[in-house]
């Protein structure tokens, strides 16, 4: 799973990079085209200006020549006027045109034009100078040499060339622009296609991702459900096993009880009988001592009563033990009635019930505030926790003031109640043993049959719970009771 995910991630990144690259290319293309368009605009403007200025120059040259010719023909000053005006204006035309050719491939052409026009103007000036000086014939002759006409033709041709080359310039940049725009169009279309492909690809990847995530979460949910079912199954199994053990204990203890009643009953009968015999032995011993043997007297007065005494004390003990088992199994057979239980209140009751002992011992019981409650059997909970608190109070360490704390925490839908003390503690080897019936740990200086914790464990299991102990000898003990938050109601009672 992580491999596919990283591959998907890498592919996604690659696609994103491609998308970004396409965008950059399209952008660069349009910027380039923009610059081309600008260049085209500039070229267009320049060409137009050149066309206008060149036309002006041509007109002025024509005016100058016309003026010269008219003057030379007529000698009238009025004819010279277009010449003088043109002469004054032509340098201005040059001034305007020169910067437009500076540094361009057309500069040599322009330089040649200026040269030709300078020569033409010099020729014009020369002829007019000759005419003014009265040498009319020489001036006409000079015109007749055709030099002026040739120069004029040359100038006209050069001007036309300049216009043509600037027009070519326009075409060139127009072509450039057309090409650029076509290229940009292609680039844009290609880019768009790529972007569409990328978007689709990314969409597929995202959809795949989403499907995968959905599948994973479904799997997790299914696993969770399975786990819950398993836990429930286990809890049910455990409760059933516990029930069976309880039933077994009940039957066994019940059947043990019947013969015990006989043993106790006939021991009592025996006692009554031996009392009668004892009386008789006494009477006979008084009246006819020789009839009573030492053995008979000893048997009647000491041996039999002693034996009966042992039988009675043993059967009494056995009776207590059987009663304990019966009590345990009877508890196990009681139908549980789950109800919301306020644990803070429950513990307050238990603490009150042992107040006498704790005050005598100078001990203190602290119950955590806002103790969470649960839905379970109140009576069973009371028995479990009053047993634990009783034990904590019973087995305090006399060398230090007793501190008993009750707390709770939630864990995975269950609640863990903790009863901790700083008492005598339990040796590690006894941690399991203390939960066994009739087993006790440590110094046997307190009354008890070794039933309490066995009872607590059986009860905890009935509630679908677990009990564990952490203890260090001489330090203190901590019991943890792990219970389900809600005890399911029993649909049918336990069969007897």
């Amino acid at each position: 799973m992580p491999t596919t995910r990283s591959i998907l991630g890498r592919a996604g990144l690659l696609l994103l990079a491609l998308g970004a690259l396409t965008l950059v290319l399209v952008d660069a293309g349009s910027i380039w085209l923009g610059s081309k368009t600008q260049a085209y605009g500039l070229a267009l403007e320049r060409a137009q200006q050149i066309r206008i200025l060149a036309g002006q120059l041509q007109n002025r040259l024509d005016d100058a020549e016309t003026g010269q010719r008219g003057y030379l023909l007529t000698g009238a000053e009025s004819y010279l006027e277009p010449y003088t005006r043109a002469i004054a204006l032509i340098p201005k035309s040059f001034e305007q045109l020169r910067p437009r050719f500076a540094g361009t491939p057309d500069q040599p052409l322009f330089d040649r034009l200026t040269g030709v026009i300078d020569e033409k103007l010099a020729e014009l000036k020369h002829t007019i100078g000759l005419y003014d000086a009265g040498q009319h014939e020489q001036a006409i002759t000079l015109v007749r040499t055709d030099r002026g006409k040739i120069l004029m033709d040359q100038a006209r041709e050069l001007i036309a060339n300049l216009v043509v080359t600037s027009d070519a310039d326009i075409r060139r940049s127009a072509d450039d622009m057309r090409w650029g725009s076509a290229t940009l169009q292609i680039t844009t279309v290609a880019g768009s296609i790529i972007v569409v492909i990328l978007v689709t690809g990314t969409g597929f990847i995202v959809a795949g991702y989403a499907r995968q995530i959905e599948r994973s979460s479904e799997e997790v949910a299914a696993l969770n459900r399975g786990l819950e079912e398993r836990v429930q199954q286990r809890t049910a199994d455990l409760m059933q096993a516990n029930e069976e053990i309880q039933r077994f204990a009940y039957i066994v203890s019940h059947d043990l009880r019947a013969p015990l009643v006989n043993v106790m009953g006939f021991t009592a009968e025996l006692e009554v009988g031996i009392a009668a015999i004892q009386k008789m032995v006494d009477t006979v011993a008084q009246k006819q001592p020789e009839l009573v043997s030492d053995d008979a007297r000893l048997a009647a007065t000491e041996d039999v009563p002693e034996a009966v005494g042992f039988i009675r004390s043993s059967t009494a003990k056995m009776d207590r033990l059987i009663n304990a088992i019966l009590k345990l199994s009877r508890e196990g057979r009681r139908v549980l009635t789950p109800e919301p239980v306020d644990m803070a209140q429950l513990f307050a009751g238990i603490v009150d019930s042992v107040r006498h002992q704790t005050e005598d011992a100078g001990a203190e019981i602290t119950v955590q505030e806002h103790l969470p409650g649960l839905v379970s059997d109140r009576l069973v909970l009371e028995q479990i926790f009053s047993n634990l608190i009783d034990n904590a109070v019973k087995y305090l360490d006399a060398s230090r003031p007793g501190r008993i704390t009750v707390s709770a925490r939630a864990q995975a839908g269950r609640l863990i109640y903790e009863v901790a003390d700083n008492g005598r503690g339990i040796a590690a080897s006894d941690h399991e043993r203390i939960f066994e019936l009739f087993r006790r740990s440590g110094t046997q200086d307190r009354p008890g049959e070794g039933i309490g914790l066995a009872h607590v464990r059986a009860l905890t299991r009935r509630l679908g719970g677990l009990i564990s102990v952490q203890s260090e000898f001489g330090q203190g003990t901590r019991f943890e009771v792990n219970l389900p938050r809600i005890l399911p109601a029993q649909t049918e009672s336990v069969e007897s």
């Binding site: 009643v261 006989n262 009953g265």
Partner: protein, 143 residues
């Protein structure tokens, strides 16, 4: 009406010791009726159904529930299903104190349900009191 002395007490009890202790304590309470001891359910039923035909005496049945061959409940059911035997008082005297068992016995028509006390002193006292009780109750004659 029959005098209390003529009533035959049929005790169906598999434990011989218990039977003996029960009889002893009944005698101590002053009950001197004939006590017939049946050690199994089968024997008990056989006696009852035979006695129904021959015995002139009314019957009172002391019944233990935990029997090896059948449960006392079955026996109780059979007794109460029989037209003649159903009037005989049945005292269930057993170790079981299960509420459902007690209920079932009364439902089936037992007269009294007594749990045998475990402690012998209490046990013998209870049997003696039962004896006193037996000496005052009236028992219908089996027709």
């Amino acid at each position: 009406m029959t005098s209390a002395e003529s009533v035959t007490i049929v005790m169906i009890e598999d434990d011989e010791g218990h039977a003996r202790l029960i009889e002893k304590n009944l005698r101590r309470a002053g009950v001197f009726n004939e006590v017939v001891h049946c050690e199994s359910g089968t024997a008990g039923l056989k006696y009852l159904f035979d006695a129904r035909a021959v015995s002139p005496n009314p019957l009172l049945i002391l019944l233990d529930l935990n029997l090896p061959d059948m449960t006392g409940i079955d026996i109780l059911g059979k007794i109460k299903a029989d037209d003649q035997l159903k009037r005989a008082p049945v005292i269930v005297l057993t170790t079981t104190d299960d509420q459902r068992e007690i209920q079932r016995c009364y439902d089936l028509g037992c007269s009294v349900y007594i749990t045998k006390p475990v402690n012998y002193e209490t046990f013998s006292q209870a049997i003696r009191q039962l004896g006193l009780f037996l000496s005052v109750i009236q028992v219908p004659k089996v027709p």
